[in-house]
């Protein structure tokens, strides 16, 4: 029960043993992810309602999206999910080099995703499809400009909060990388990788829905 316990062992003072701690950590993260589901759920509800109001308009606006950048980004994110899963595996089986490599790869892939996303935002800016900060919004497709503007509003909100979550995830993985480089996060100490991994996979799942809803409903056939 001493404070020293938490410094010298993997089990924090409030827990009795490692199993209890790990289960508590895991349950805590899943509970937090419930919160996240409902956080994103609010915008998904808005998206669904506005899209059903004018399906053809949304399809038309979606047709202007750069499908290939979206698909590549999805692939990048799925790759990062794999590297995270491998990092968790490496941590649990105490393979330090593998853990470090996987964490570094995850961060490179995450940064790649954000880079491509940033380039897409720049494209939207160039095309005047960025209805932010009072920038001119010029839409020349067949959808009504109002619907198109709503589509891009939703696009920026949804991908924006997704990107914020990515950035937070990158921060978490930076901390984990520092710990891993110092020889931590192996074996009994690997739970943080698992917990951070759950978060990263969840952010990935959000994108799995964002990609078809934003890029693939276009009338490009």
């Amino acid at each position: 029960m001493s404070e020293a316990h938490s410094i010298h062992g993997p089990v924090a003072h409030q827990f009795d043993d490692l199993q209890q701690q790990r289960e508590a950590d895991e349950l805590g993260m899943w509970t937090f992810l419930c919160t996240e589901i409902l956080f994103f759920g609010g915008v998904f509800l808005a998206y669904t309602l506005y899209r059903l109001r004018d399906e053809a308009g949304f399809a038309d606006a979606s047709g202007t999206m750069n499908l290939w950048l979206g698909a590549v980004n999805t692939a990048v994110l799925l790759c990062s999910s794999l590297t995270v899963a491998l990092a968790v595996h490496a941590g649990e089986t105490s393979r330090r080099t593998m853990l470090v490599v996987c964490l570094v790869l995850t961060m490179i892939l995450g940064a790649g995703f954000l880079g491509i996303k940033g380039y897409e935002y720049y494209e939207k800016y160039e095309e005047h499809h960025m209805p932010l900060f009072g920038l001119p919004f010029i839409y020349e497709g067949q959808a009504s400009p109002a619907t198109a503007e709503m589509f891009f509003d939703l696009y920026f909100v949804m991908t924006g909060i997704h990107a914020i979550h990515m950035i937070i995830g990158m921060g978490v993985f930076t901390l984990l990388l520092v710990k891993a480089l110092r020889g931590g996060l192996l074996g009994d100490y690997s739970t943080p990788v698992h917990i951070a991994g759950l978060y990263w996979h969840f952010v990935d799942i959000v994108w799995v829905f964002l990609f078809p809803f934003l890029y693939l409903i276009g009338a490009r056939h």
């Binding site: 956080f39 994103f40 509800l45 709503m150």
Partner: protein, 559 residues
């Protein structure tokens, strides 16, 4: 809770325990960087009292202004900002964190027999997040205030209002995270940290109600967060998610807002119900009647609470069909609420009732909550609602729940566990006097508002026809009594910290793990890890053991 532990627990000691959580450190640092759930509970207690005072001052000015039909005291714009400040502060910075973050923080690990919450650092962080959100909101108030009402309805909040909507909305957004962190911590703690032998059905019912509250906190709060985030985006980035010009729907904001804010009403009342469920069996020396019913009714309230949000929107432009659905579903909530009231009443039946201060508050709660709940059925009825919508009838209804219910329960709980928190007894006579004063003041404040609302006085109006003046003056007079009533506990509880007699570990002879440790408890809560063998609220058995213990003591003395 063995007979050895029962022995002499009620004797007032001459000195506090040598080592306890309060004297574990005296520096500011030892408080601001603590991860001890008990100290964090006290940090919250200080902060929410601070916000209660500010919210109370705003309410006082509003009531003073309503003394005259013309509203002579403040400008109309100022009046709008005052009732908004009152609502925002009382809802988000007092009621939502009140019992969970103070008593819950203090008691949950003690009641489940754990050394701390599952995530002590997140617990501390939640207080800092709360403080940041609070400071931002205070800044917004100091910089000129906000006039949207606590509900921030779009498009007024997103497009038209020229006040500090942005800062306030972000403040509320931030404070939401502290609520989520608290709820998450409780859920994990209750699942994973219970002492050996402490099964779900041996838990104090306070824990059940805190668990149900936490469910709402983690499932509802993110939705109001995204709603406010979208409003902030509209103001800051120029997006138009709720903008009808782009095909957006302002009513969607109300849907998202009330998806949280209706269940949030149960965040505010469920912990109060939990406190009352602890107090009543203790002061009638009986087993609680219908343990499982009370436990599951907490869950039912939490779940049904998510199905009824549209009853705030009967006249908002929502479809009539949805109105009927939500009206019908709203009646569902009455069932578990009534189950609780019946069980409390049945627990009192043929009990040996004594009227210590916590019991006075608990009984006040039962009566006032019943009135608030029954008038809730009026406003849940689609037809009646159209008549009384946005009138003082609604104001009176939810103040009977929030103030008559939650604040009474909160004060009851503070008195009940004050010996455990501070290690001192409060002055009983003063406390009883102020409990009665608060009850009288409360009813005088809010009962006339039922009448006013039924006669047609709308809420949030600065001026009113002259025929409403008598009732308004009655209400304002009641509010001043209420204000004085609140000053008493503030004073004598502070006084007792220095001059109150030392509290024994179990001054009320109550069951529950928190009473088996010292008052105040040591930092690690229990000298040795507790093992639970008793059924909950077994007061008859407890009293029998107590008598046996005193009897053998007397025998030993005569030998």
């Amino acid at each position: 809770m063995t007979s050895v532990a029962v022995e002499r627990q009620a004797q007032p000691p001459d000195a506090p325990p040598k080592r306890n959580y309060l004297n574990a450190g005296y520096t500011v640092r030892s408080w601001l960087f603590t991860t001890d759930h008990k100290r964090i509970g006290l940090l919250y207690l200080l902060s929410i009292t601070f916000f209660f005072v500010i919210g109370g001052v705003a309410a006082t000015v509003v009531r003073l202004d309503l003394m005259t039909p013309e509203g002579d005291l403040v400008q109309t714009e100022t009046y709008n900002k005052l009732f908004t400040a009152h609502g925002v502060i009382m809802v988000f910075f007092f009621l939502v964190p009140s019992i969970p973050a103070t008593l819950g923080n203090f008691l949950v690990p003690l009641m489940v027999g754990a050394r701390d919450l599952a995530f002590p650092k997140i617990n501390l962080m939640s207080w800092y997040v709360y403080t940041c959100g609070g400071l931002l909101t205070l800044y917004a108030l100091a910089a000129g205030g906000v006039d949207t009402g606590w509900t921030f309805y779009a498009p007024y909040s997103s497009t038209y209002s020229n006040t500090h909507v942005m800062a306030t909305a972000v403040g509320v957004f931030i404070v939401g995270f502290s609520s989520i962190m608290t709820g998450l911590n409780f859920i994990v703690t209750i699942h994973k940290m219970r002492a050996p032998g402490l099964t779900w059905f041996r838990l104090p019912l306070f824990i059940w109600s805190i668990y149900a509250t936490s469910l709402i906190q983690i499932l509802g709060t993110p939705v109001v967060a995204i709603a406010l985030f979208l409003v902030a985006c509209e103001r800051l980035l120029g997006l138009g998610i709720f903008d009808p010009r782009l095909g957006g729907d302002p009513i969607l904001f109300q849907h998202l807002f009330w998806f949280y804010s209706h269940p949030a009403v149960y965040i505010m009342i469920l912990p109060g119900m939990g406190v009352v469920t602890e107090i009543i069996p203790c002061f009638c020396r009986k087993k609680i009647f219908g343990y499982t019913f009370i436990g599951f009714s907490s869950f039912a309230i939490a779940v049904f609470g998510f199905l009824v949000w549209g009853h705030h929107m009967f006249v908002s432009g929502q479809s009539v069909y949805a109105g009927m659905v939500f009206s019908m579903l709203s009646y569902l909530v009455a069932i578990p609420s009534a189950v609780k009231v019946f069980n409390w009443t049945a627990s009192l039946y043929k009990g040996s009732i004594t009227f210590e201060t916590p019991m006075l508050y608990a009984l006040g709660f039962v009566g006032l909550f019943t009135m608030g709940g029954l008038t809730g059925l009026f406003v849940a009825a689609l037809g009646v609602n159209v008549h009384v919508h946005d009138t003082y009838f609604v104001i009176a209804h939810f103040h009977y729940i929030m103030v008559g219910g939650m604040v009474m329960a909160y004060l009851g709980g503070i008195h009940f566990w004050w010996p455990k928190i501070s290690g001192r007894m409060y002055p009983e006579a003063w406390a009883r006097f102020s409990a009665i004063l608060i009850f009288v003041g409360f009813n005088l404040t809010f009962f006339p508002q039922y009448v006013l609302g039924y006669l047609g006085m709308p809420r949030r109006y600065h001026v009113y026809p002259e025929e409403f003046q008598v009732l308004n003056v009655m209400s304002s007079a009641g509010a001043s009594i209420l204000a004085v009533g609140y000053l008493f506990p503030l004073t004598y509880l502070l006084w007792s910290l220095r001059y109150g007699p030392y509290a024994p570990p179990n001054p009320w002879r109550a069951t529950g793990l928190e009473w088996t440790t010292a008052s105040p408890p040591p930092t690690e809560n229990f000298a040795s890890a507790p093992v639970v063998t008793d059924e909950p609220y077994d007061y008859p058995k407890f009293d029998a053991e107590w008598r046996d213990a005193s009897f053998s003591e007397e025998l030993a003395a005569t030998d």
